[in-house]
């Protein structure tokens, strides 16, 4: 029963959501809110079109680069902030000042230096992803049990080594939560970064359709992006499980609403 339910649950949830959507749109009778069926029907033409596929792949490439850059920047910064009060005091206000600014509003200035191409979009993705990763790494590093660090220090680990070999693994579960949120944000910023200026990409298809009022294509794209999200998330979950198998809870929580 349980073994069967696990892989089936997401499928069932998808079906449930699609059904709810179908009825809601039938009830609303609104051109900008097509039925689930219409949207699903619009998927194959997109996926069989070579240009669309190239578009989507281009987006994914930008996302991968932005995501990788963000991780390699945000994790060390977050860990450093978590273990050093001074670093945290130095960066915290600055980050808090920079992050709430919508990147779309800064586009004119970003364009000035980076143009309208891949670089500025990758930058936007990078910024979107790094926020949760920085803060989860930060809090994760803060909560690392001090005596573990002491043990490492006594074994001759230098401060940078301690950061890499003790704080990083100890904070890994929390960092990975940040990465997971970051992955979702990467997907979303990947699309929104193509809202204002675009050459190719999944957002290109989506916003074109939006401009043209072709809502079945809009929602078909949303479904496709959602599906990509599910796949990426599932892949990430496998990696995560493997990385933090040492921290999985030993017993199920003995709580239940029933």
């Amino acid at each position: 029963m349980n073994g069967l339910w696990k892989p089936l649950a997401p499928v069932l949830a998808c079906c449930g959501l699609l059904l709810a959507w179908q009825f809601a749109s039938l009830g609303l009778k609104n051109d900008s809110f097509p039925t689930a069926l219409d949207s699903l029907r619009a998927i194959p033409p997109i996926l069989t079109d070579k240009e669309s596929l190239i578009n989507i792949l281009a987006s994914l490439r930008r996302m991968a680069i932005g995501f990788a850059l963000a991780l390699s920047f945000a994790i060390p910064l977050g860990l450093l902030m978590g273990r050093s009060r001074t670093t945290a005091a130095f960066f915290n206000p600055l980050l808090m000042l920079i992050y709430p600014v919508p990147k779309a509003a800064l586009m004119p200035i970003i364009m000035l230096w980076l143009g309208v191409g891949d670089v500025s979009k990758t930058l936007v993705i990078f910024l979107g992803v790094s926020l949760p990763v920085i803060y989860h790494s930060f809090e994760g590093a803060k909560a690392v049990e001090e005596k573990m660090l002491w043990s490492g220090a006594a074994m001759g680990l230098s401060p940078p080594e301690r950061l890499l070999r003790i704080v990083l693994p100890a904070a890994l579960p929390e960092i990975l939560t940040g990465c997971r949120t970051g992955l979702v944000l990467a997907l979303i910023t990947m699309v929104t970064s193509e809202m204002i200026a675009r050459q190719s990409g999944a957002g290109n298809i989506l916003f074109n359709a939006l401009d043209m009022g072709q809502y079945d294509t809009v929602f078909a794209m949303i479904i496709i992006i959602g599906a990509m999200g599910i796949c990426l998330d599932a892949a990430f979950e496998i990696v995560r499980r493997w990385l933090v198998r040492w921290s999985e809870p030993q017993f199920d929580m003995p709580l239940s609403f029933s």
Binding site: K142, L210, L255
Partner: protein, 253 residues
Amino acid sequence: MTRTSNDILLGAAPIVLVLLLWQALVSFGYAPPTLLPPPGQVFLRMGQQLSSVTFQQDIAATLFRLFAGFAIAVVLGVSLGIAAAVSPPVNAAVKPIVRVLAPLPKVALYPAFLLLLGFGHESKIMLVAADALFPILLSTYYGATTVEQKLIWSALAAGTPPRDVLWKVVLPAAMPSILTGCRIGLVISCIVVFLAEMITSTDGLGHVLVTAARTFQAVDMFVPLITISLLGLILNALLQGLRAYLLRGFPSV
């Protein structure tokens, strides 16, 4: 006392550096003032704007949407996250739905929100809530699943009904993680409320920016930008204060 004042000095340093860099970019001609006005001019204009009633109303509108959306996200995110962590049936229902909904680009749904909820507060609150919800939910879920088992056992043995264990043990024990999620959710709320106002609105800071951008009023464009980032800073400082109070028992640096 000295520690906090030190921290403030340290935190101010990079901000001053950024301002200097900004000024230098303008002074040395790396950016034309029509795109990047000098900081002095922006702050001067901001001072004037802050005392104008219409601008205050815009700030109020933005703040209201921000708080309302964020509050919904916190309440929903925390309760769903904890429920999913402790109850297998809820987990089975929530987890797949979250996996499906989390990666959806909510902005693309904004036109639909507009039609369903109108051009006023509701559609923006909805968008903010939809975007801020998932980081909070995920962090809560993570925090709640990693609660030390023996804490729950202790509480159960002390006679806490399973239902109460949720908010008497799981919630406080997951609090560090939840607050991290809230912090991210708060920043995302700031971004999204502004973005929504930029896309379609009749008021709010984002609207002020768009109007200025359309007519190439660079200084007026930067005033709402600086305002939102200062709001972000202040709100975050408040959240940090709350965090320090709530987590005083937990280990920290």
